[in-house]
């Protein structure tokens, strides 16, 4: 019983890093998703192609290898240093998930009914007003449930940052296990519980958004 307390206290130390990486990655990947998603539906060919290449590269390679690239390969090759390890982790995770999420932004925008565009033209809205007031608000409703799913995935992905030496939840768990080998099952059981508890609000958010998004969208 005592060891459960000990392990929990130790894991709590790592929660801070996990939460920081999670929160900042969510913000930045969301921004990237919108910028990339909008670029993908833009009529500017160069922007469109460039973003397409970015999305495919980051979707097509694994996050753990991207983390290693940003943290070990880039500094050696090009002398690019991304600052502290937290930033390295946040940037790799954000670029990776931003690429995935840009696809939901793109497909949601495209699935808003064409009649909405026609009505906007008939009311003489400008292109920008149409995007800002008609298309994007409806696209956001459509993308929210899937967006929630990605937030849960980002949380789980943060566990990889222990591999580039960040002292997150999993890192402390591994440290403890390496000195108390026989308690490995307890350690990993507790780590699972911790991640699950962290995911609960995100799961609740996703459920709520599923209900919300059913209202107020005109789909083809």
């Amino acid at each position: 019983m005592n060891s459960i307390m000990d392990i929990s206290l130790l894991l709590l130390k790592g929660i801070k890093i996990t939460l920081i990486v999670l929160a900042v990655s969510i913000v930045i990947s969301t921004l990237i998703a919108f910028v990339a998603g909008l670029s993908r539906v833009s009529s500017n060919v160069l922007l469109n192609k460039f973003t397409g290449v970015y999305v495919e590269i980051f979707r097509g390679t694994s996050l753990i290898i991207q983390l290693f690239w940003f943290s070990y390969a880039l500094p050696g090759l090009f002398n690019i240093h991304l600052g502290s390890d937290i930033w390295t982790a946040v940037i790799a995770i954000s670029l990776n998930y931003g690429a995935y999420m840009s696809e939901i932004v793109r497909s949601s925008i495209l699935s808003v009914s064409h009649g909405q565009t026609e009505a906007s033209v008939a009311l003489n809205l400008t292109k920008f007003q149409r995007m800002r007031h008609i298309i994007i608000p409806q696209a956001i409703r459509m993308m929210l449930p899937e967006y929630g799913n990605y937030l849960i995935q980002i949380l789980k992905a943060t566990s990889l940052v222990s591999l580039i030496g960040l002292t997150d939840l999993l890192y402390y768990g591994n440290i403890y296990r390496s000195t108390h080998l026989s308690e490995a099952p307890t350690v990993y059981m507790l780590i699972l519980v911790f991640y699950f508890v962290l995911a609960l609000p995100l799961i609740a958010f996703t459920r709520k958004m599923e209900v919300f998004s059913k209202k107020g969208v005109a789909q083809e």
Binding site: G115, Q129, G216, A218
Partner: protein, 257 residues
């Protein structure tokens, strides 16, 4: 009646290999009510969609208030219009669609307020007062805070009309506005259009299959067939004494139903 508010001259339109319109010449006078009838695929809807800038003519010109809609002058040459030019000219045109196209994420009063508020026609309070008045006019004064999904088809179409009217267009286009409605809801929508027609100032172009209604409110009926205006005239003449064989066939088929 003075010079036309809308003028089509030698308008052709093809979609791929299909020639939908083959030389349309048409003047609409201010305040005139024109009904477009004809078999499906005859190009009726395309005619009004080009005026709303939803479809670009393959050749020919459309003038709105004497201004060229689809071409503009640039360095002394006529070039295809850009968004800015279209935006500047189409403000006088409004349109009501077959499938309403209301904005589902906004209440119906917000639907009516959005465009005039963005166009800064008036301050927001004033726009809201006008929107409520307009919704009262179409008989929905008690529903202003509902969302489109909470309304019947007929009510949705009346909101769509109120929303289009908020921009005070000089020409209003109606694209088969009763075709998507249950039969028992058609009447309430036609009633609103009839009232608008009586007010008079606004020109109206109606693509419709409601012959009795066209007979009732139109100053002029155009019969379109295979991309040309086959016959036109005042409703009493055109519907009662059709000259061309095609119109006779069309009306006969209609009356059988």
């Amino acid at each position: 009646m003075g010079k036309p508010i809308v003028n089509y001259s030698k308008i052709h339109k093809s979609f791929g290999d299909v020639d939908v319109l083959k030389g349309i010449n048409l003047d609409i006078k201010p305040g005139e009510k024109v009904a477009l009838i004809g078999p499906s695929g005859s190009g009726k809807t395309t005619i009004i969609r080009m005026l709303m800038t939803l479809e670009q003519p393959t050749s020919g010109t459309i003038l709105v208030n004497g201004e060229n809609l689809w071409q503009m002058e640039k360095k002394g040459q006529l070039v295809p219009s850009d968004d800015k030019h279209l935006h500047a000219i189409r403000g006088d045109i409004g349109m009501v669609f077959q499938h309403f196209n209301l904005f589902p994420h906004m209440t119906i009063v917000e639907n009516c307020m959005l465009a005039p508020a963005l166009a800064k026609k008036n301050d927001k309070k004033e726009v809201k007062i006008q929107a409520v008045e307009m919704l009262e006019k179409v008989g929905l004064g008690d529903k202003i805070n509902l969302y489109p999904a909470q309304l019947s088809g007929g009510q949705k179409q009346r909101v769509a009309m109120a929303r289009a009217l908020m921009m005070k267009p000089k020409v209003m286009l109606f694209d088969e506005v009763t075709s998507a409605l249950d039969p028992e809801l058609v009447g309430e929508v036609l009633e609103v259009i009839r009232d608008l027609a009586k007010e008079g100032e606004m020109a109206m172009i109606l693509v419709t299959h409601e012959m009795d209604f066209a007979l009732d409110i139109a100053d002029r009926i155009l019969f379109l067939n295979e991309g040309v205006i086959e016959e036109e005239g005042p409703p009493s003449e055109l519907l009662v004494n059709p000259k061309s064989e095609r119109l006779q066939d069309f009306l006969a088929r209609f009356n059988k139903r």
